[in-house]
């Protein structure tokens, strides 16, 4: 199994588009927070009616703002590890080398979880360090002891493998990367937005990406799951997608 995971790691980093994707995620996640920390007016009223200088959790959200798109792109990475194999037919070389397909899929999943936890840990730390330093330079640094700060940071970190696994599941189900990428980007950013906007008090809370997102909200939203319940629901959703995908991959011709 170690050999299989190492093989998957080599596959991931030996494809140019994956390297470009990972660099983009890093630049976006850290850069956007740093940019906002530098330019957002600190004394105008924020979303909660308070100026940013008096609202510590909004400041945390500010420096981690790049993760909105960053996490979505980790979902794309999840699609890539399987979608690319189908697109270029390397899935046949892979399954010929390891005919027990479940082992290959497990190795990919383990790699995704470990890699995204590692990447997100580094990027969240960098965002806090860089964005925090910029804010501190403007006179209002991050307050790491404010209640909820660590939930937001750990929540952001733990959402990373969730997004990647959801993308992996969609990639296994649909097999072709373009459609899968459109799905993992359009579903949370367009479809869920509409559903949650119009059906807030009925099916809104069951929208998985929104449910997962509750863990990085500064306070609990009406009609929505609580932060960790929502996160657990989202993770369950990602795992169910992976399970469906794994069953389909096992049954279908490669």
């Amino acid at each position: 199994m170690i050999g299989l995971i190492r093989a998957e790691w080599l596959k991931l980093r030996s494809v140019r588009s994956n390297v470009i994707l990972m660099i983009s995620i890093a630049v976006l996640a850290v850069g956007l927070g740093a940019l906002l920390a530098a330019v957002v007016p600190l004394d105008d009223p924020g979303p909660n009616g308070l100026p940013l200088s008096l609202d510590p959790l909004i400041r945390v959200q500010l420096v981690t703002a790049g993760f909105g798109l960053g996490l979505a792109l980790l979902g794309v990475l999840g699609v890539q590890v399987i979608g690319q194999e189908y697109r270029f037919n390397t899935i046949r070389a892979t399954f010929a080398a390891t005919p027990r397909r479940g082992r290959v899929l497990a190795a990919k999943a383990v790699l995704l979880v470990v890699a995204t936890l590692l990447i997100a840990a580094i990027l969240v730390s960098l965002s806090v360090a860089i964005g925090g330093a910029i804010l501190a330079g403007r006179g209002v640094g991050l307050d790491m002891s404010a209640p909820g700060t660590w939930r937001l940071l750990i929540g952001t970190w733990l959402l990373a493998p969730g997004y990647a696994l959801a993308g992996f599941g969609v990639g296994m189900i649909l097999r072709q990367p373009i459609g899968s990428i459109v799905a993992v980007l359009a579903w949370p950013m367009v479809i869920e937005q509409i559903v949650v906007g119009f059906l807030t008090d009925s099916v809104g809370r069951w929208m998985p990406y929104h449910a997962g997102g509750q863990v990085v909200e500064e306070h609990a939203r009406e009609h929505m799951f609580g932060p960790w319940a929502g996160f657990a629901y989202f993770l369950g959703f990602a795992l169910v997608l992976c399970l469906i995908g794994a069953v389909l991959v096992q049954r279908r011709d490669a």
């Binding site: 050999g3 093989a7 030996s14 070389a93 399954f95």
Partner: protein, 307 residues
């Protein structure tokens, strides 16, 4: 020893492989022959359990492919040179395969040298010609030094020098005691490479045996074309001497007798001959005859039966 038993594979309404059984022996090159679309590639994909058959098994010394712990060390396959990612280098393509089967990574450099790709090991595969990709596929098949080798149309895209190299290579692998199965739709190529033949058409076995047997069994090896103003009389005489005759206009073709037999019969009975020519069945003709009923895509015959 590779054993295929009662394989059946359906793609929707299309029966691609139909109750197919055959053996591939050790120490010999076995040609897997059939017209385009006859189910060769599907059969080979099923052997590697890439495609799921509706029925039947393919086993390597009694074990299914799934049961092989490190399959690349026991079975090497070149199914399609296109199974590579264009932005990955040749060396990394082989390295991940090696890692997945606990093959020491120094083998990667060895097989790349062996197939003549040592100098482009760190080049992206996207820039490779079809011939180079075939060589890379071959390197992948040899990576685990396996005892069984499966090649699907390996000379596709190779230049004459490359074809000769592959042909010699396969014979050497067989001489080392390995089991070698090579598919092709070109009988002439197989006649030069293979010892045994498995001939299929429309997913069904047509013949299995040595190349020589195949020639002898099909159309009984040869016949004699005879043209004479007294063709009818001579044909009866040939039949009387034990030959089989197919009559035409002022001519006939005879099998089971030699041209000399027919000539002597004619001379003894004062019959004028306009033509007396012995015909040998070529491998291509034998192949076309054997698979005629099984051709998936037949072309309309030319004006005067260009058989």
């Amino acid at each position: 020893m590779l054993e295929v038993r009662h394989l059946t594979k359906r793609f929707g309404a299309v029966l691609a492989v139909n109750d197919l059984s055959f053996d591939v022996r050790e120490g010999r090159v076995t040609g897997f022959l059939g017209p385009n679309g006859s189910g060769k590639s599907t059969t080979m994909r099923i052997m590697l359990q890439l495609d799921r058959p509706q029925a039947g098994t393919a086993t390597f010394s009694g074990r299914s492919y799934r049961e092989l712990k490190h399959p690349l060390r026991e079975v090497g396959a070149l199914l399609d040179a296109g199974y590579v990612h264009p932005t990955r280098t040749a060396s990394k393509h082989l390295r991940y395969l090696a890692l997945s089967n606990s093959i020491p990574t120094r083998r990667v450099d060895e097989v790349l040298e062996l197939v003549g790709l040592g100098e482009v090991a760190d080049k992206r595969v996207g820039g490779f010609s079809l011939g180079m990709r075939q060589r890379l596929g071959l390197a992948g098949a040899l990576l685990g030094d396996p005892g069984v080798l499966l090649f699907d149309e390996p000379v596709n895209g190779l230049d004459p020098e490359g074809i000769l190299w592959v042909r010699t290579f396969m014979q050497r692998l067989a001489a080392e005691g390995r089991t070698v199965l090579v598919s092709s739709h070109l009988l002439s190529e197989m006649a030069l490479t293979a010892n045994d033949l498995v001939v299929i058409g429309r997913g069904q076995l047509i013949r299995q045996g040595s190349v020589d047997e195949f020639l002898n069994q099909t159309a009984s090896g040869g016949w004699v074309e005879v043209r004479s103003p007294q063709a009818e009389v001579l044909a009866a005489l040939v039949e009387g001497s034990g030959g089989r005759v197919t009559r035409g206009q002022g001519s006939f073709s005879a099998s089971g007798v030699t041209a000399a037999d027919v000539g002597e019969l004619a001379a003894a009975n004062g019959i004028v001959l306009h033509e007396l020519s012995p015909k040998q069945v070529s491998l291509e003709e034998a192949f076309i005859e054997a698979t005629r009923d099984a051709q998936q895509y037949t072309s309309a015959p030319l004006a005067d039966g260009a058989s």
